[in-house]
């Protein structure tokens, strides 16, 4: 039975139908999971109850395959106010304020219906942030698509990008960072990971835990429709040919209503009326009500006849599982009801008392006079299945011998080819469709190491944001790749001069029931945990997206890390393009030696070989701390980390951003030029400093035990590497900027569909 048929059939299915094996399977429940339900409630569930269990116990909501390993992640720190388990993580930024942030995937909906899938992904993460009382101030998105030549890729890129823009631009949050990558492994399953951050007062954080018996449970926001019924269950299943039939499970976004909901919620929170609040995201009314009750050790009784609906004859099943967007559930102080209602009426939003808190720990649902569900509320969450799945140790590839890689005949052309390849080309085509400037606080837009926004009400304080992962590294060695994702995020924040505060993880993997996929997940989490501990960069929120497979082929393992950093004084912030003529160019970190899994080998030679670069976390920290302190001392005119594409790509990106050339001499470096230029060894940066500070900085580096190399001088209008290459900045830019618009302008036929 397909999802579509089930959703339609639900209109006529009475609540008391016999629960068949087929029905159980269609709800994504395994026979043993159904047995667990029977054991818990001592009887056969009603149709609505089956739907509720299926929503609460799917992978998306219950983390049943990943929970065991997620518990090993470091989630605390001196600045952490709220770790995982709430709508978003909360981290202290001083002066009585905190940053509230999270990253979440909307992969499956975006593949089925790219515009609405991506838009509602953005809407969901924004809601997570303002549910906690924070006004969103920045957004990012990490996107991964299939091969550019795959017939569906253009359509997905176009739809996802306009969907994110359509929602975030209208809502009014600046998009300041993100990633866009292509790989054939995402052909049947694109990734859309959306990040949002907001600012709140530390003494005004709102949580989902209900308190007090007999208090009104209030429904706020948009009306409930049939959209998204079963969405969370769909997101926890693999794709096959029936995917087109799943379109009705994708929700439809309304950013205008969300903007009104934001303003109404923040206004209402100021009145002191709100006891508990939970947004309706995955599994809608079910998940939000259970969450509020279970956390507060209370029962919840809902009367569905009071729920504002926009379609006729909706069944209890549909109402409980609808994922209609822009809705909130709150427990309010009864004496503030009139005041609260007035605020929602002013913003043109629905306000309805739909139930009450009880002391019996039951989740009771009433519909048209019948009790359609009566379940133990704590068990819905606490007793969800948890699996210790079999996993296999992976990795073990030896490093590629650079002698096995032929040097290019023409290094200038090699660099141009690299900069003009899909994964290394400028993503301007994408981010110019996002409003990067709204709110008037953006200090750094996409295109640099991290997005930066200033904190309203402070003269010098700013926050930096970056989202990172290198899936090809994770595939080759999940443990090192997990470490590297964290290290690169930390490094990107550092490159602006920010102190990395904390991070959020969005773990995208294939089917965890396969030991090799489970091995990727387990080892990546181990790597992430180790790096977060070593770099004091705790994980405060996150999301796991499994079953990213189509017809049995999994995506590249993609544990995206979103990080937040604090800048005390943005006047001393570093940018990628701040160099001035005559500045001294310095490499911080060692020479390039590691070509295995490099972008140059993959994108220019078509070779994905060997182990990924390993990450020495002590070195990462030492080099990063040195760079940050030089930036904060006002000694650095520009800075860029070295990541995909190696030193060559880093220097090219710096000269394009500053529009000034560089004269570089690598003759004192050891090793062949291709490794020096394209090697992706970690813990490295390029900085430029005023000429008269060059010797001082290098002496300081030496004193701090930080490897460095004097590379050359900012000068002229070409990137000139003595004896290796000389390419005009304008030629680099032409190569870098042209691929994306040219690709998207090519007429496309969806012949394959």
């Amino acid at each position: 039975m397909t999802m579509t048929k089930r959703a339609t059939a639900a209109m006529t299915i009475p609540n008391t139908i016999p629960i068949t094996e087929e029905l159980i399977a269609a709800h994504g429940l395994k026979p043993e999971e159904y047995q667990r339900i029977l054991d818990l409630i001592g009887r056969e569930p009603s149709f609505t109850e089956l739907g509720i269990f299926s929503a609460m116990w799917n992978e998306h909501c219950s983390y049943k395959s990943s929970k065991k390993w997620l518990r090993t992640l470091p989630t605390t720190g001196p600045r952490v106010i709220q770790g995982p388990g709430e709508n978003a993580g909360v981290v202290d930024i001083g002066d009585g304020e905190c940053v509230v942030f999270k990253m979440e995937s909307h992969n499956h909906p975006s593949y089925i219906e790219p515009y609405q899938g991506a838009a509602t992904g953005m809407g969901g993460i924004l809601r997570d942030v303002f549910t906690m009382g924070a006004r969103p101030i920045a957004a990012m998105n990490a996107l991964r698509f299939g091969d550019p030549d795959h017939p569906k890729t253009r359509h997905l890129v176009s739809g996802v990008v306009s969907g994110i823009g359509g929602y975030a631009n209208c809502f009014g949050v600046p998009t300041v960072g993100g990633e866009v990558e292509f790989d054939t492994r995402y052909n049947g399953n694109c990734l859309v990971n959306a990040f949002a951050a907001g600012i709140a007062r530390t003494d005004a954080i709102f949580l989902s835990e209900a308190k007090g018996v007999g208090l009104p449970v209030v429904y706020l926001g948009a009306k409930t429709g049939r959209d998204g019924v079963g969405g969370a269950t769909m997101a926890s299943a693999e794709f096959d040919e029936s995917i087109e039939e799943k379109r009705p499970t994708v929700q439809v976004g309304d950013p205008f209503t969300e903007k009104c909901l934001l303003e109404a919620c923040l206004e209402l929170m100021q009145t002191g009326a709100v006891i508990a609040i939970q947004d309706m995201g995955a599994a809608g009314l079910t998940c939000s009500a259970v969450e509020m009750g279970a956390k507060g050790d209370l029962g919840i009784e809902l009367d569905l006849d009071m729920v504002p609906v926009r379609e006729e004859n909706m069944s209890a099943y549909e109402m409980m599982l609808s994922e209609s967007q822009e809705r909130m559930l709150m427990v309010l102080k009864p004496e503030k009801e009139a005041e609260a209602k007035a605020i929602f009426v002013k913003w043109g939003l629905d306000f309805a008392i739909v139930g009450k808190t009880t002391d019996d720990l039951r989740f009771r649902i009433l519909h048209q006079g019948d009790e359609v569900a009566n379940l133990p509320i704590k068990d819905l969450g606490d007793e969800a299945p948890e699996y210790d799945r079999e996993w296999r140790e992976l990795g073990g590839l030896s490093p590629l011998d650079i002698a096995d890689v032929e040097e290019p005949e023409d290094y200038g052309q090699a660099l141009l080819d690299l900069l003009g390849s899909p994964n290394n080309a400028s993503k301007r085509w994408v981010w110019e469709q996002y409003d990067t400037l709204i709110q008037g606080s953006t200090l750094q837009i996409p295109g640099g190491d991290a997005g930066v926004v200033r904190v309203e009400g402070h003269d010098t304080k700013a926050l930096a944001f970056s989202s990172d992962v290198t899936p090809r590294y994770v595939e080759a060695n999940p443990y090192e790749g997990g470490k590297q994702a964290v290290a690169e995020c930390w490094r990107n924040l550092t490159a602006t001069g920010a102190e990395p505060l904390a991070s959020t993880d969005n773990l995208n993997f294939g089917n965890p029931e396969r030991p090799e996929i489970m091995g990727q997940l387990v080892m990546a989490i181990q790597g992430i945990g180790e790096a977060c501990t070593a770099l004091d960069f705790p994980i405060v929120s996150g999301n796991v997206s499994l079953y990213n497979e189509t017809n049995g082929e999994a995506i590249l393992p993609t544990p995206t890390i979103g990080g937040v950093g604090l800048i005390d004084d943005w006047n001393q912030m570093a940018r990628i393009g701040g160099a001035g003529a005559g500045d001294c160019v310095i490499l911080i970190g060692g020479d390039g030696t590691h070509l295995g899994q490099s972008a140059w080998m993959r994108d220019c030679l078509g070779r994905c070989e060997g182990a990924p670069p390993s990450v020495d976390l002590m070195e990462e920290r030492r080099n990063g701390d040195f760079v940050r302190s030089a930036i904060r001392n006002g000694q650095v005119t520009s800075c860029h980390d070295i990541s995909s594409g190696g030193l060559g790509a880093t220097l090219a990106e710096m000269v394009m951003a500053s529009d000034l050339g560089m004269k570089i001499d690598l003759s004192s470096s050891q090793g062949p030029a291709h490794a020096l230029l394209f090697g992706e060894d970690q813990a490295r940066y390029v900085i430029t400093v005023p000429a008269d500070l060059g010797s001082y900085i290098m002496a300081s580096a030496e004193g701090a035990g930080v490897p460095f190399r004097h590379l050359g001088t900012v000068s002229g209008s070409a990137l000139q590497i003595e004896g290796v290459l000389c390419v005009a900045v304008s030629a680099l830019r032409a190569a870098h900027e042209s691929w994306f618009p040219a690709y998207m302008d090519t007429p496309t036929t969806l012949a394959a569909e």
């Binding site: 306009s162 823009g165 359509g166 631009n169 209208c170 809502f171 009014g172 309304d254 950013p255 205008f256 209503t257 903007k259 009104c260 303003e263 913003w347 043109g348 110019e432 469709q433 996002y434 409003d435 990067t436 400037l437 709204i438 709110q439 008037g440 606080s441 200090l443 200033r454 943005w570």
Partner: protein
């Protein structure tokens, strides 16, 4: 001079505009909600900020133009009060008929956010006297429907009456606007509509302050 900012559900650059006016004039502007039917006599400058009023779910600005507060804006405008509409505000002024023409979807069919260059096409207006004639200024744009269009007669009269206040430089026209039009004034010269966002370029943190003189002009802070 005293300024007021119109607030409609869905506008989202209201906070940017309020911050800019506050920083430039030294006092916070009054805010006026959609349902108000009159605007105080002592208000000398009314600003309609950018965003997506009512979601722009009909033609951009069409619903806003029919709200009670816009009748009050029209009355004030007809009495000579200065009015600025930026982005969605410009679209709303066109829908209310205070300015001629229409804003179509960008020629690229895509939302565009980037910095463009504007030529001050007429430095003689109440809003541009802080600039010099022909001066090229930087200014960000962020819109989906900014492609200015009108019939040939209206276009000719706009040009003949020197009602074009700002033009995109030909190499930075982001949306396909006729005659590179970025902003126009009415025949009386007291109503300005423009797509770019001068309120997002008024201080060092924005990377420049080219937008500042517009507000200084409108607020009577420059010598005419």
């Amino acid at each position: 001079m005293k300024a007021a900012v119109i607030l409609l559900p869905g506008l989202n650059r209201d906070r940017d505009m309020i911050a800019a006016l506050t920083k430039i004039s030294g006092q916070a502007p009054q805010t006026i909600w959609q349902t108000e039917t009159s605007i105080d006599d002592d208000i000398d400058l009314i600003v309609i900020p950018g965003g997506f009023s009512y979601g722009d779910y009909l033609r951009c600005g069409a619903i806003a133009a029919r709200m009670p507060v816009m009748r009050a804006v029209r009355e004030k405008a007809e009495k000579g009060t200065r009015v600025i509409g930026v982005c969605n505000g410009f679209q709303i002024l066109l829908e209310t008929g205070l300015l001629p023409g229409a804003l179509m979807r960008n020629a690229s069919l895509k939302f565009v956010c980037r910095e463009v260059n504007l030529e001050v096409a007429n430095s003689g207006t109440a809003f541009t006297q802080g600039y010099s004639q022909g001066q090229i200024i930087r200014c960000p744009v962020a819109h989906h429907d900014g492609n200015y269009f009108t019939d040939p007669d209206t276009l000719a009269s706009l040009e003949a009456n020197r009602q074009v206040a700002f033009r995109y430089t030909p190499d930075t026209n982001p949306n396909g606007s006729l005659n590179n039009i970025a902003g126009i004034v009415n025949t009386a010269g007291n109503v300005l509509g423009m797509m770019p966002h001068p309120e997002n370029l008024i201080e060092a943190a924005h990377g420049g302050s080219d937008g500042r003189a517009l507000f200084e002009s409108a607020l009577g802070l420059v010598d005419a």
